[in-house]
């Protein structure tokens, strides 16, 4: 089934096209979050301006004509309201105009599913880390197929934490990549480390590290905040691995672009002799292909939505989404 997927939950407007699980196009245009972060209305405006262009580029790349598209999917949530609305509107328009079925996709489910698909994993424990989310999940079959949350952040997402810190240092905020660069050559200094079973919290770490700006060497601070943040996530993940007796582990979401985090997780996996997988960065960042991929399976398995049922949900919890 030839399906187009639209992602617009945050600063990226992404369009993907898949056919029978094969990714034919994955195009995007991203709002520059710069120093001020995201003002939802401004980002939404940016999406509106770029939607048409990204959709046509994706069709061109895939080598298909608009009228050949057989189904459409979009991100229902979680995400920023005004941004989600742009994707919803674009998807509804396509559905109505082409008279094709429409599917609503949970953003987190899409990140995990595309990673499983690309990395060739069957039933992994998934660490989903991004700006707004940080969760440890595994597929549960009852009462319906969904991702059960085993652990998660009790306050902010790890990406958000690293970005806020980067901004305080006047570095570029981007899933911690600038902090990772600035950490080179740093030495460890003591910072808060908060793990509660399989949950973790980042604001204490952020507050303390921000207080220390200017008082200790920047590279030491960057090195230590990163070591603590990722080690916390790894510890909680390891606990969930043992609890769920998983034989596979995967990492996904924006922060999965960090080589440092992947390196640490591969050590966790190695210790327990299990397989560790992840997708190329193109799919860790927000993208339309993952939405198209899940939408195709939803549509093929009878989970199409009626147009009037379609909407957005800023806090769409992952457990509520049916995994096809």
């Amino acid at each position: 089934m030839l399906v187009i997927g639209i992602e617009s939950s945050a600063h990226t407007f992404g369009v993907g096209i898949v056919d029978d699980g094969k990714i034919l196009a994955n195009e995007k245009s991203s709002y520059n979050v710069g120093k001020g972060g995201m003002i939802p209305a401004k980002v939404a405006e940016f999406h509106v301006e770029n939607a048409g262009k990204v959709i046509s580029t994706a069709l061109e790349k895939a080598g298909v004509k608009l009228k050949e598209i057989e189904g459409v999917g979009y991100t229902r949530g979680p995400g920023l309201g005004p941004c989600l609305q742009v994707g919803e509107l674009a998807a509804k328009t396509l559905s109505k105009m082409l008279n094709i079925p429409i599917a609503q996709v949970n953003h987190g489910v899409a990140h995990i599913e595309i990673t499983k698909h690309i990395a060739g994993l069957e039933d992994p424990l998934a660490l989903y880390v991004s700006g707004g989310n940080s969760q440890i999940l595994k597929l549960a079959k009852k009462p319906y197929r969904h991702y059960a949350v085993f652990g998660e952040t009790l306050d902010i997402g790890v990406g958000n934490m690293l970005d806020s810190f980067a901004r305080s240092l006047k570095l570029d905020p981007a899933w911690g990549s600038s902090v990772e660069k600035a950490a080179i050559g740093g030495k460890y200094i003591e910072l808060p480390y908060t793990v509660k079973g399989m949950d973790f919290a980042f604001t204490g770490l952020l507050t303390r590290a921000t207080e220390l700006i200017g008082k200790v060497k920047t590279e030491d601070l960057c090195y230590s905040i990163q070591e603590n943040a990722y080690a916390m996530v790894c510890e909680a993940t390891e606990r969930a691995l043992l609890l769920t007796k998983s034989e596979e582990l995967c990492v996904c979401g924006g922060v999965a672009q960090s080589n440092k985090l992947k390196e640490m997780l591969s050590l966790v996996a190695k210790e327990h002799g299990i397989k560790f997988g992840y997708a190329p960065n193109e799919f860790n960042a927000d993208n339309g292909a993952m939405i198209a991929y899940v939408a195709e399976r939803l549509l093929e398995n009878g989970y199409a939505s009626k147009l009037e049922e379609c909407g957005i949900e800023q806090r769409y919890r992952i457990e509520r989404a049916v995994v096809p």
Partner: protein, 197 residues
């Protein structure tokens, strides 16, 4: 020394010292963690756990008794039994578990991982084990989370049994239950389907 269990944090060995069965809990080096941070965490948690086991003994909470402490290892008495998680007839035991939790909280200790996988039942009596995540704290939130974890891992009727007994013995039971209600109202706990036990 026989390895009997391996957790995320520590290896548990059963040793026989002068005819007594002793448990050695050794906190393992984590390759993913920065060395200084790793040592700090492991030694601090070892010390903390030993201090709490000592407190439990004095508070009359059924738990392993502390025998000795090393930099990254704790030695304690062995409790032979089955985990509450694996026991079918839970009901009678649960009011005792509630009482133990109340006593623990009255001493300002939160367990941190209070699930049926951390209750050992020996001769029909429950023993609280694994104080690896326990904290000495007055925090109502931490205490309420102990209740919440158990609530999420038990059938409703079973949990009621535990809670009734807990409320009878806990000094601040009412306040903690109020907090539990408040926590459950937070979005993430409404739909979370976690099974820890």
């Amino acid at each position: 020394m026989k390895l009997i269990s391996e957790g995320a944090e520590a290896k548990i060995y059963l040793c026989n010292i002068w005819g007594s069965n002793i448990i050695a809990k050794v906190r393992l080096e984590k390759a993913y963690r920065e060395k200084t941070l790793d040592e700090k965490i492991r030694s601090a948690r070892t010390k903390n756990e030993a201090r709490i086991l000592y407190r439990m003994e004095h508070a009359g909470v059924a738990a392993p008794r502390l025998v000795g402490v090393g930099k990254f290892s704790i030695y304690m008495t062995f409790i032979k039994g089955a985990l509450l998680r694996d026991i079918k007839k839970k009901k009678e035991i649960l009011s005792e578990v509630g009482k133990m939790l109340a006593k623990m909280h009255n001493e300002d200790v939160s367990h941190g991982d209070f699930t049926p996988a951390n209750i050992m039942v020996s001769n029909g009596m429950p023993y609280v084990i694994d104080f690896g995540l326990a904290e000495i704290t007055k925090s109502t939130e931490d205490k309420a989370i102990d209740l919440l974890l158990m609530k999420r891992s038990l059938a409703t009727a079973h949990y009621k049994e535990l809670e009734t007994s807990y409320l009878r013995y806990a000094k601040e039971g009412k306040k903690i239950k109020e907090r539990l209600k408040e926590i459950e109202k937070r979005g993430r706990y409404k739909t979370r389907t976690l099974q820890t036990g």
